[in-house]
Every structure is written in structure tokens, then in C-alpha cells.
Symmetry: C2
Amino acid sequence: MKLHWSPRSPFVRKVLVFAHETGLADRLTLVRTVVAMSKPNLELLRDNPLGKIPTLVTDEVGVLYESVVICEYLDSLHGGPKLFPSSGPQRWRALRWHALGDGMLDTLILWHNERPKPPARQTPEWLASFALKTGTSLDALEREADELARVPIGIGHVALGCALGYLDFRFPDLRWRDARPRAAAWFGDFARRPSMQATLPVEG
Amino acid sequence: MKLHWSPRSPFVRKVLVFAHETGLADRLTLVRTVVAMSKPNLELLRDNPLGKIPTLVTDEVGVLYESVVICEYLDSLHGGPKLFPSSGPQRWRALRWHALGDGMLDTLILWHNERPKPPARQTPEWLASFALKTGTSLDALEREADELARVPIGIGHVALGCALGYLDFRFPDLRWRDARPRAAAWFGDFARRPSMQATLPVEG
């Protein structure tokens, strides 16, 4: 399977962490694909009309995109414990955590795109809104961190781990751990997993 | 169940169309919740730390967010034909279509936020990128429209229908139907469904 990949995309990292956790990393052929909001990648657009990464090209089911869809597909390919609980309260909890991680990333990426603009082209209300929502999301994570630590790893953990990893990579100035000891402790453990260590983002 | 709702959000519409299609619309209590990228809604942030709509508050499984998670939860509550195929190629096809619809909406919403700015605050490369990706996405939809028309309605149809509805609502100037007769024909039929007619966006 071919995965359109970049070493700095947190959504790509989510797929890679997932692949490592499920023993499928060797099945992925990584193709370096550079995308930016200001510069669409015309080659990628041939595989994925949205021009986003990650994009997975499979022989079996064609092209898949959206990182969570790719992860769920990968989950169908292995015989180990599933990272998507199949039903019931565990499934909704995992998908809520996943949505929290993905939603944080959506906000952080918009923020990261807005921050470097010259002040005259920034929208100050957006910057304030991004900061507020990131704070409320981290506070929610703090409240759920003990439960996260207690239950088996699933897609929610992977998404939240990648969101916090992106926060450390792009927003170290936020010092998010300061008032959130439980979330910091959970991420301290999670970040040591081989899947996370193998997929650290690199500046370049 | 309480649904944080707005009459103009295409992601809220997706949940409402889904609820109508699955006979669950009467189970939702709609709470008018206004959000904008420049103006977070503090009351909503108490239910959903991401500050996004739709947000569903349930007695059974707590709060759910991300429209597709809400839709999948609703799909678990009724005994009729499921709109999320449970496995196999049908599932990946439906989720790919869903991702195409959602991805179009993500781009269109960013575009809609960027267009009204004074030119000095716009990022011209973003506007060009949004136009390009919307075009390639619509072309992909044109290629798949006959298959869409042929298979039972699922979550993919709902997402694509809401994306095209949003295009008509916010971007009538694009005249997307002009070179895409198959997609136009499919949407012509889909838009006549009671679920779509009951959820038309209103200017306000």
C-alpha cells in the first residue's frame, strides 16, 4: 500500500502510529508528498481530489483518505486487538476522544497558518478564538486523562497523542503542561511508546 | 437528545438529513447555537471544548461531537436499513464518499471565511488553492455520480448532498453544474428527498 506522507503532518503521524501499534508499518510504502494550504500538490490531486495527506492507495479498495478512515481500514487488516472498539459505550468514548484530538489539530493547524502572517493580514479575533479553544480542549483532556490511562489503547489515544505531539512541535511556547498534570503524565507515558518514538516530527 | 444546531451549518444539516432518513428526527431537541470562527460560543464550550456544531448531548453516552460520529451513533438507534455499511468494500466506498463530501465542505468553509475579507487581508494563494481543490473534488464526484445513483443511500450520499447544498447556498457564482451533468442529475434527485427539503439552509 502506498501512503502519501510527510514527516511533519500530524494526521499522517496518526496513521503511522496506528500502523506501528497494529504491526502493519512494514506494509506501507511511504511516498514523500509535500502539501501546503498555499501550494496544492498537483500529483497528489490525481490520487486524492481534496489534495490532502495522508492518502492511502490500495490494490484492494482503491484510494482512501481522511486519516481516521485509513486507520479503520488498517484495523481491518490485522488479527490483534482492535483499536476501534466495535460497538457500545467503548466505541463512542473512543470516537469522542478521537474527535477531541482531531478537533484540536484542526484548530492548531489553522492557528499555525495564521500566526506567521504579517500583522496587517492577520485576523486577531481568529487568533484569540484558536487560543481559547485550545485551552478548553486541553482542560477537557485533563479531566479525562486518568480514564485514558486506565483503558486499553485505541484510536482515541492515538489521535490525542498526535495532537499533543503537534502542540509540542509547533507551539512549545504555550507550555500546555503547566496547569494540566494528569494530561502531562498520560502523554509522558504515551510518548515513550515505540510507535511514537518511531514517528517523531522533524523540522526541515 | 439535545442537538446544538444552526440553520446554516452544513455539518449540522448532515446530522439532520441523517436523522430524517433514519426516522429519528423527532428524537432530537434542537437548540439554536450560533458559532463563528471569529466568535466562540461560551455556552457551547461547556458541552463541547472544541466549540463546534453539531454537538449532541445524550443521556446514554454523554456528549458526542463530529458530525460523522453523531450520525454513526444515530445509526445504532434505529432498526431500519443502516446508512453505515458494516464492513467490506461497501463500507470503504461509503466512507470515501463521506470523506469527499466532508473535505469539500472543509475547503468551502475556509473559502467562505476568506472571501469577504478586505483584499489587503486576504491570502491570494489560499483563494486559488480553494478554487482548484473544489474543482478537482467536483470532477471526482462527476466520475462517481452514476455509481452513487445506483447504490442504496448511505452516509456518503448524505455528506455529498450536504456539500453540494452548501455550494448552492454560499457559492452560486461557481455554477458547478455547468460541466458536470452526471453529478447535477444525481443531486437533482437527491435534493428532492424529504430529508433535504426539510433542512434547506436559510439566509439570516
